[in-house]
């Protein structure tokens, strides 16, 4: 069996599962946010359920329109806050961080878990060797009440990354390149299993970026077998037991893809699809109005360090707004202690509180008609960051920082970064 099949089998009380099989599984964590949880709460009230399956296994994070941008969003957040208090939900967070950066940092999602979240980027936790997938509010509501959900066991695609990674190529570039190769429905209904020597040496932050965007290829989940790097990461954070799974040597895959990362340069995904990727050297002259460095994809400390390396001693182009959003308060504090925030401020950047805000065109960086942004986020659909005729270009934090300096999409070398 594959790692995905093993985790699902273990939670279904079965010795073996096959792709295509419909199974009912227990869940370790059910997650909702300030957009999706209110609908789930409404559903729970409608059916008159008074008890939740386990107040310790339900996590509610207010992060999308936080700090609240207007009265309706404040009402939604209040609904979730009141519900969390009434049901004494142990893990309710507001303004503390973006869910998919926060949960791993807090050790709330662990290897071997089955996690469902009413947010499509729930697949991020696959980087820890968990089965994690996005669902809608109704499925979340049912899981919050019963502690169970059903799945069709997905086929798995094995993605093997080998070779030498360029110094400006990161997890973000590997996943963008992969999506560019297989398309936005290239892994539809499937598990993406990331493997190979490159993954084995990849820091956790890059692994999170990769698993995070599995949904952008249509995948049910993205996953990596936990190794020493992952084990070290969770060992200091976990407050409950966890289990490491890995695929058998004779595990069956519906497809196997191999990538020589030596052939992969820094990637930029053009509007209006994450699959419209180009290597940075082939981007051409594209002036920009805004840069966003943050989100559940690339708002971690390592991402901020990278941006700071490029921005140190430089100034943001006068026509560009640089918005930097540390993904959690913990990240914010570390960035402050390391002097990264000073570098951003001296460069002319704006530093925001943890929020999904601009990524989904919510607030704190919405684009006007015709404006262009380079963002370290995950989606560049029409209207994603604001006006339907604005444009988002997806890239890694180094490219984003360099572009902020240049006033157009460009590389760290072009922006004068020698290292």
């Amino acid at each position: 069996m594959t790692i995905t099949e093993k985790i699902l089998a273990s939670h279904a009380g079965l010795d073996h599962v096959e792709p295509g099989q419909l199974i009912e599984t227990s869940i370790d964590i059910a997650l909702g946010n300030d957009i999706t949880a209110p609908l789930a709460i409404k559903a729970i009230k409608e059916i008159g359920a008074s008890h939740l399956f386990d107040r310790n296994k339900i996590i509610l994070v207010a992060d999308h329109f936080i700090p609240n941008k207007d009265i309706p969003s404040a009402m939604q957040a209040k609904e979730m806050r009141d519900f969390a208090r009434n049901h004494q939900i142990t893990h309710f967070y507001e303004g503390v961080g973006i869910e998919h950066a926060l949960l791993p940092e807090e050790g709330l999602v662990l290897p071997g878990d089955v996690v469902i979240g009413a947010d499509s980027h729930t697949c991020t936790y696959g980087a820890l060797g968990a089965f994690a997938t996005g669902v809608g509010s109704t499925d979340l509501a049912a899981a919050m009440v019963t502690g169970k959900t059903w799945f069709r066991v997905p086929d798995s695609i094995k993605l093997i990354y080998y070779g030498h990674r360029d110094k400006w190529v990161f997890g973000k570039d590997l996943i963008l390149y992969t999506i560019g190769d297989i398309g936005v429905d290239g892994a539809l209904y499937r598990a993406m299993e990331f493997t190979g020597e490159v993954i084995e040496y990849l820091p956790m932050s890059d692994r999170f970026s990769m698993a995070n965007m599995a949904i952008e290829a249509g995948a049910k989940n993205g996953i990596m077998a936990p190794d020493e790097i992952a084990k070290t990461y969770v060992s200091t954070k976990a407050k409950r037991s966890y289990e490491f799974f890995k695929s058998d040597h004779d595990a069956r895959y519906i497809d196997i893809k191999e990538y020589d990362v030596g052939n992969i340069g820094p990637q930029v995904a053009f509007p209006y699809s994450p699959q419209n990727t180009r290597v940075i050297s082939e981007v051409g002259n594209i002036p920009i109005d805004q840069v966003v460095i943050g989100s559940c994809t690339n708002g971690r400390l390592e991402d901020l360090r990278l941006a700071a390396k490029v921005l140190k001693g430089k100034k943001v182009h006068p026509y560009v707004r640089l918005i930097i959003i540390p993904a959690t308060q913990g990240t914010y504090r570390c960035a402050m202690q390391e002097g990264l925030l000073d570098i951003f401020l001296e460069a002319g950047g704006i530093i925001g509180p943890p929020t999904c805000g601009p990524c989904l065109g919510g607030h704190m960086g919405v684009l006007a008609k015709g404006e262009r942004a380079v963002a370290t986020t995950n989606r560049n659909f029409a209207g994603r960051m604001g006006h339907p005729e604005s444009e988002v270009y997806l890239a890694n934090p180094a490219i984003a920082a360099a572009s902020a300096i240049l006033g157009r999409i460009g590389s760290p070398e072009e922006a004068g970064c020698k290292e």
């Binding site: 957009i35 999706t36 109704t138 209207g383």
Partner: protein, 165 residues
């Protein structure tokens, strides 16, 4: 049971931001969401469509966010069903969970244009393009999912005390 209405055709990879943009997700009332249904794919859609019409689309319909607001907006706008070449998996689950019937058929999508009148039979999965007389087959909705859709979604179905499968 049969659904009949006028078709509105869309392309491939219609994402949930196109179906209901993130900027409108500060509310979750179905009527409020319906006012912006498909806005970033076709700003005139909600003005031009009529209750009972169908959405016909290419591959990977509903990709992107897990927002259940997307099928809710479509259903509340009065769209009777969606026929697509394929659906993104979260949208697929969400559609049935909120009681929006959906059908997959590449051939039917190829042969239906905006303005065609289309009739869909839930029980057989048969899709008839009334305008040009062509008939296509899709997977019929299994009886237990038909029950969920008829009850108005999974939670209402559970509330009625019915077992799932």
């Amino acid at each position: 049971m049969k659904i009949k209405g006028k078709a509105w055709k869309f392309g491939d990879d219609i994402n949930t931001d196109a179906i209901i943009p993130g900027r409108y997700l500060n509310v979750s009332h179905p009527k409020a969401l319906a006012n912006h249904c498909m806005e970033d794919a076709d700003p005139q859609f909600i003005k031009n469509m009529a209750k009972g019409d169908l959405i016909v689309a290419g591959k990977n319909f509903g990709c992107g966010s897990s927002r259940e607001h997307a099928p809710i907006a479509i259903k509340a706008a009065g769209i009777s069903c969606v026929i697509a070449k394929s659906f993104a998996r979260i949208f697929y689950r969400n559609a049935f969970n909120v009681g929006l019937p959906i059908f997959e058929s590449e051939e039917a999508v190829e042969a239906i244009q905006t303005g065609d009148v289309v009739e869909v039979n839930w029980d057989t999965g048969e899709i008839l393009n009334v305008t040009n007389g062509k008939i296509f087959r899709s997977q019929p909705i299994p009886p237990f999912l038909q029950e969920i859709v008829k009850d108005g979604g999974l939670l209402k179905h559970i509330a009625k005390g019915k077992v799932l499968t």
